[in-house]
């Protein structure tokens, strides 16, 4: 089995940052994939399938983060999450 590793950098662009609503959307999306997905900020990792982990990573508007997915559907996972980030989670 081929294990892919995908990485991509983002800036949090919605005005409220990764708060409850945005984190919920990340968890909903990440949970559709088998890959292990994490969000990295200043070297600290948060499980992208854990709402509390994302929240407590504390990423306000403007934070630079790195997304890292590991598993056979890693590319698809990163692509799906990219859409979320690009659309600012459907917020301002």
């Amino acid at each position: 089995m081929v294990v892919q590793v995908e990485r991509k950098e983002f800036t949090v662009r919605n005005k409220l940052g990764l708060h409850a609503r945005a984190a919920t959307k990340i968890v909903q999306t990440s949970s559709q994939f088998q890959s292990r997905i994490c969000i990295i900020k200043n070297g600290r990792e948060a499980d992208a399938k854990s709402m509390l982990d994302i929240l407590t990573l504390s990423c306000p508007h403007g934070t630079r983060i790195e997304l890292c997915a590991e598993g056979k559907d890693a590319a698809e996972a990163v692509a799906a999450l990219t859409v979320l980030f690009d659309n600012k989670f459907g917020e301002e």
């Binding site: 005005k15 409220l16 940052g17 708060h19 409850a20 609503r21 984190a23 919920t24 968890v27 909903q28 499980d47 399938k49 854990s50 709402m51 509390l52 982990d53 929240l55 407590t56 504390s58 306000p60 508007h61």
Partner: protein, 604 residues
């Protein structure tokens, strides 16, 4: 007095108007008490994990059910329940609990509580106030699972099956948000005040509410018949038929009256003889803008900006303020928003700004004085407001508690410095932005003519003015009866400030409870004010009465009233006038068929 009898009548604070009649439903929010036990065998550990799983599944099913119900009535809040569902299965809570049961061989309740404490610790270390406060969601979710585990499934607001009056000691924001509006006739609580969360939510949902009843939870049984009078702040338990019929009739009449008044809320407040006075709203939270618009207020005359500062270790940053202010200004556009700069006082201090013990906080380091000392906090707020003004151009700034020209100039210097730094950074702001002050300290009235040369507008804040001028602490029960807004001294002071403003050619408004009190409309018109700012819910009725009033008559009324020597005389005169001229706007609010209560409206 109203006819009939009842088992008990309780008096509290009416925070959302309207009359509700229905059965009581007691909601118990006391936390589940927890036992600890050790699991001696692997088989028991396995069973315990299954038991935990069942409890989580049940909580999940319950939440999904709530969500389905909410999606219709309350779509904008449904995501909160999604959040709760995710938290339920979150590895930090779920996996951690399972692991603790396994490793420590303890019961599920105990393991869950431990996991919860770990999460709490992590949240407590976060700087972001918003995220830190989200721990209440985690707590709420864990509480549901714990209730399932212990089988002590307390009645919660979600269990309501028919239209009821919710009776509680206190309701958390999470409870209030879960209320099914269509099943809730009214809310009554033992605790809370005019600005509590329950008060704000019920007002925006238009559900009658009375808080601060102290012992209603203890006094009433679930299923008992109650009447809730949100106007009078009265709760009647088990009324007899005569009293019940009286309230049914009154409820019907009030509904009819309210519908009619709100239907005309968009019409301007212009007297029969063509004098137009602007009617604006006082608000405390961004969420209240809905009420501002629905009730036909012409903009926000007083945005109390303290809310974002409460209970924080650090004042909020510029961006947080900017986005809150910007959203408000954009929604209100093309009407204007008047931002009152931080008026943190004795009763509403955030932890960091709290000065050392003061023996007399109402006369101490507060409001503009505190801002001039905590000058960085003040500058941050001014920057946020100015930046918004550059975008929306409908923003005004108002300094609270100004006591004289020297203090005003010190505050203006700070404002000018902030403007300069924005110019240096090429950040836009509204060059024509109007600056005003609250007239609420007696010394400001005495030098109103001097102050008027320095600003673009006055806003007379009657709540504090009455308190400072009469030396009465209104929450002190021993002297509260001496708190007289109609005291001849107050009327003379308002007149002096209004005249000084007019002579200097600046606009004068009045905010505070006085402004929203329909009984006082004739004298308020008589002062020749440019605008009144009040609780949004008071707007439609005030506008209606003004449309039926005349300026000429109001001036005569004020001249007459200024001859009186006591507040009681003024009040009697105004009641008589209201009864004679605006009977249909007052009779429903009078106590029985007799005398009008001194304050018949609801404000603040």
């Amino acid at each position: 007095m109203s006819p009939g009898n009842a088992r008990m009548v309780l008096h509290g604070i009416g925070v959302a108007p309207g009359i509700a009649i229905g059965k009581a439903y007691r909601v118990d929010r006391n936390k589940v008490s927890l036992a600890y036990y050790y699991l001696p065998s692997p088989a028991q550990i396995k069973r315990e994990k299954e038991r935990f799983d069942v409890a989580v599944e049940k909580a999940e099913a319950d939440l999904k059910e709530i969500r389905a119900k909410m999606a219709g009535a309350f779509p904008e809040h449904a995501y909160i329940i999604d959040t709760h569902i995710h938290i339920l299965r979150d590895s930090m809570l779920y996996d951690e609990t399972m692991r603790t049961i396994d490793q420590q061989a303890v019961n599920a309740e105990w393991a869950l509580r431990q996991a919860l404490e770990k999460v709490q610790q992590i949240f407590a270390e976060i700087n972001d106030e918003y995220i830190r406060s989200r721990f209440s969601d985690v707590d709420f979710v864990a509480e549901r699972v714990l209730q399932n585990l212990t089988g002590q499934n307390k009645q919660s607001v979600t269990g309501i099956r028919e239209r009821v009056i919710v009776v509680a000691q206190d309701l958390s924001p999470a409870d209030t948000i879960q209320l099914q509006v269509e099943k809730t006739l009214a809310i009554v609580t033992d605790m809370g005040g005019k600005t509590s969360h329950t008060a704000i939510i019920t007002r925006s949902l238009d559900i009658p509410a009375v808080v601060g009843l102290e012992k209603v939870y203890q006094a009433v049984r679930s299923g008992e018949l109650m009447v809730v009078d949100g106007h009078a702040g009265k709760v009647i338990i088990d009324p007899d038929e005569e009293l019940l019929n009286f309230y049914y009739e009154r409820q019907y009449q009030l509904e009819r009256y309210r519908k009619e008044v709100v239907r005309c809320a968009e019409l301007p407040a212009e007297t029969e003889d063509g004098y137009h006075i602007k009617i604006q709203a006082n608000i405390e939270l961004l969420e209240e803008v809905v009420a501002v618009i629905d009730n036909g207020a012409e903009g926000v005359g007083l945005y109390r900006t303290e809310y974002l500062y409460l209970n924080l270790d650090q004042p909020p940053n510029e961006e947080t303020l900017f986005w809150d202010y910007r959203e408000l200004a954009e929604i209100i556009y093309p009407e204007t928003v008047t931002f009152r700069t931080l008026d943190l006082g004795a009763d509403k201090l955030s932890t960091r700004l709290r000065p050392s013990n003061e023996t007399n906080p109402a006369l101490g380091l507060r409001s503009i004085r505190l801002c001039l000392q905590e000058d960085q906090t003040f500058r941050t707020q001014l920057r946020a407001i100015l930046r918004v003004s550059g975008i929306t151009k409908n923003v005004k700034i108002m300094f609270p508690m100004i006591s004289g020209v020297g203090e005003l100039r010190a505050a203006k210097t700070v404002l000018e410095e902030v403007k300069h730094s924005l110019i240096k950074e090429s950040i836009e702001f509204d060059k024509d932005l109007q600056l005003g002050i609250m007239i609420e300290v007696p010394s400001a009235v005495a030098v109103a003519d001097l102050l008027a040369r320095e600003v673009d507008f006055f806003s007379i804040g009657t709540n504090d003015l009455v308190q400072y001028a009469l030396a009465i602490d209104r929450v002190n029960e021993h002297v509260a009866h001496l708190y007289e807004p109609l005291h001849p001294a107050i009327l003379r002071m308002i007149k002096q400030a209004a005249d000084a403003g007019r002579q200097a050619g600046i606009s004068v408004s009045l905010c505070g409870e006085l402004a929203g009190e329909p009984l006082y409309i004739p004298i308020l018109l008589g002062f020749g004010l440019d605008s009144l700012s009040m609780n949004p819910l008071a707007v439609p009725r005030v506008k209606k009465i003004i449309r039926n009033a005349s300026m000429e008559e109001s001036k005569d009324c004020l001249n007459e009233v200024l001859q009186f020597t006591t507040a009681d005389q003024v009040n009697d005169y105004l009641c008589e006038l209201a009864w004679r001229r605006f009977r249909e706007d007052f009779e429903l609010f009078a106590d029985g068929m007799g005398k009008l209560p001194a304050a018949s409206g609801i404000d603040q």
